[in-house]
Amino acid sequence: MAVISENGANTRNLITRLWSNRETRSVIIQIVTLTVIFATLAFIFRNVVINLDARGKEFNFDFLFHPAAYDITFSPFIEYSSRSTHLRAAVVGILNTLLVAACGIVLATLLGFIMGILRLSSNWIVNRTVYCFLEFTRNVPVLLHILFVHGLIVIQLPVPKKAVNLADSFFLTNRGFFIPKPVWESGSGLVAVVLLISIAFVVLFKRWAKKAQDSTGRVYPVLGISTGVIVGATALAFLAADMPLSWNIPELRGFNFSGGIAIKPEFIALWLALSYYTSSFIAEIVRGGILAISHGQTEAAHALGLRPNRTLQLIIIPQALRVIVPPLASQYLNLTKNSSLAIAIGYMDVVATVGGITLMQTGKEMETMIIVLLTYLVFSLIISGFMNLYNKKMALVER
């Protein structure tokens, strides 16, 4: 090694040798990469400290406990008034984001699977209609879809006095949809208990049926019996408890409806637009997943005498899900993050509350943005965590 300092040719030689060796090369690359990352982080941190200092700002979260002094029109889960704290406003925002993301994921999955399967239909009209809808939906930005649906509701639907009346219980207006609210009376506890017991029974029955099939060979109609038990037992309990349910039906009072459940137009617009936009991607994923399973699998199952429904249950679905789930997870992540476009139509999600009004009022950009980022990060990590678990469990063994 002493040679290095003595002459330049040897130094160059050494570098060439280190660089052409695969192991030393990867060590060098790692050192350089880490240096760049830490330098960047240090630069950003220093920048923040200097800038906060220059503006005379402190980094703390004290503002969260001060009164927010702004209204949030949509808070279905917790009490909120303008005298509540910024923390409460943040929680309302986070819950609203969760609500629209969860509802969106459910509806998008449902629509996506239906359209994905219809897209495989051999009926030309069905196939083409779905195809046109999917192409149109997928190729228009989601913000336009949100504005479009919001516009439809706010501009095209009538004022409450002339509401679209469905069976005197559901009212569609430009101030939102009004639907009956279930009111549980005494005795409904019994119904809930029976429902829980029948669900527990079904879980046990399913295990028992699997064991019984293993030991006797008899195949039980698990799906039919399970549905029958849950629906039947709950319905019986409901009748036995003298129907402990009444409906609080919305009524027109003055210029608006009161009673029932009011669903704000912003929520409906965001929910529907996110759902059908995302469902068009899910439909393509589902179609791809089913097509990925070769026709030979179906033929082999049929040739063994398995009926079409068993073939689907035992052969096609387990294999298709492996293909469908990973990209499905990223669509769920997309939907959750796209819900931040809520601000365009005034739906009070986490971006509109903490990242919007709270930020404006307190001037705490760093702190509020950290809250918003962490919110999405946590949601996304949870979703992808679940999907990774599933994938690990289902991975095909090869070699």
Partner: protein, 269 residues
């Protein structure tokens, strides 16, 4: 056993049956004036074929001649549009019950194996007995092990198809069909997707199957196999049965020009 006059492909690599192969009088499959079209394309033209129980038939012919379609019609993986097919006394119609009966009595082995990749070898074999024959799991697994031993891979039972070689996968596929205890076995080019050194292990299993008296219809170009076990070779071209004969005469004394041309092409590479 007669040796074929031509250069006798792979005559030595096939194990010849040691038992006498018998054919019964009972009719296993009867095809009468069967026609099939794919759109405008006439794939099967007036096929008349009677197969007795215990017969071993090899079907050969150039690609696109309709030989795969012919055997796939027998268990209704393809639908014929005209004519009559009767399998084991049950006629194939659009009656789903009949189709089900026939499918549970006719096994098929595909060129591409078509094993279920998400199930172990043992589960592949016990699946149909459990769900179609409504067998106890233990019983189905016992049968599966019996046939896996017969195709000489019981030690692979817990593995997944992706972990096996092509020859092993094809033997699992044969065992999977046998687990349903079929009366007729169809083979659709069972060795065409295999590496040369794996062909023998699959053919040996098929020879043993022939010894057990199974009715077999086999689409293959393994002429060594045909001379060793077939009692009839059928040559198809353009959707028609051109010629059928017992193997010795078929190879040494082909009647039609098309058969002669085909044989000269596959026997002299």
């Amino acid at each position: 056993m007669p040796t074929i006059a031509t250069d006798g492909i792979a005559e030595d690599k096939i194990r010849h049956p040691t038992k006498k192969l018998t054919i019964s009088e009972e009719v296993a499959i009867e095809m009468v004036a069967v026609h099939k079209w794919y759109g405008e394309f006439h794939v099967l033209k007036d096929i008349n074929l009677t197969v007795n129980a215990g017969e071993r038939i090899v079907i050969c012919g150039p690609s696109g001649s309709g030989k795969s379609t012919l055997i796939r019609c027998i268990n209704r993986l393809e639908e014929h549009q005209k004519g009559k097919i009767v399998v084991d006394g049950v006629e194939l119609t659009s009656n789903l019950k009949n189709v089900e009966i026939i499918r549970s009595e006719v096994g098929i082995v595909f060129q591409q194996f078509n094993l279920f990749p998400h199930l172990t070898v043992l589960e592949n074999c016990s699946l149909a007995p459990i769900w179609v024959r409504k067998m106890r799991k233990a019983e189905a697994e016992e049968i599966a092990m019996k046939y896996l031993e017969r195709v000489r891979i019981p030690e692979q039972a817990a593995k997944y198809p992706g972990q096996l070689s092509g020859g092993q996968q094809q033997r699992v596929a044969i065992a999977r069909s046998l687990c349903m205890n079929p009366r007729i076995m169809l083979f659709d080019e069972p060795t065409s997707a295999l590496d040369p050194e794996m062909i023998k292990e699959v053919l040996d299993v098929m020879v043993e199957l022939a010894e057990s008296g199974m009715t077999m219809l086999c689409v293959t170009h393994e002429m060594g196999f045909a001379t060793a076990v077939a009692n009839r070779v059928i040559f198809m071209d353009f959707g028609e049965i051109i010629e059928q004969n017992e193997p010795h005469n078929f190879f040494n004394n082909p009647q039609s020009e098309r058969t002669k041309l085909f044989l000269s092409q596959i026997l002299h590479h």
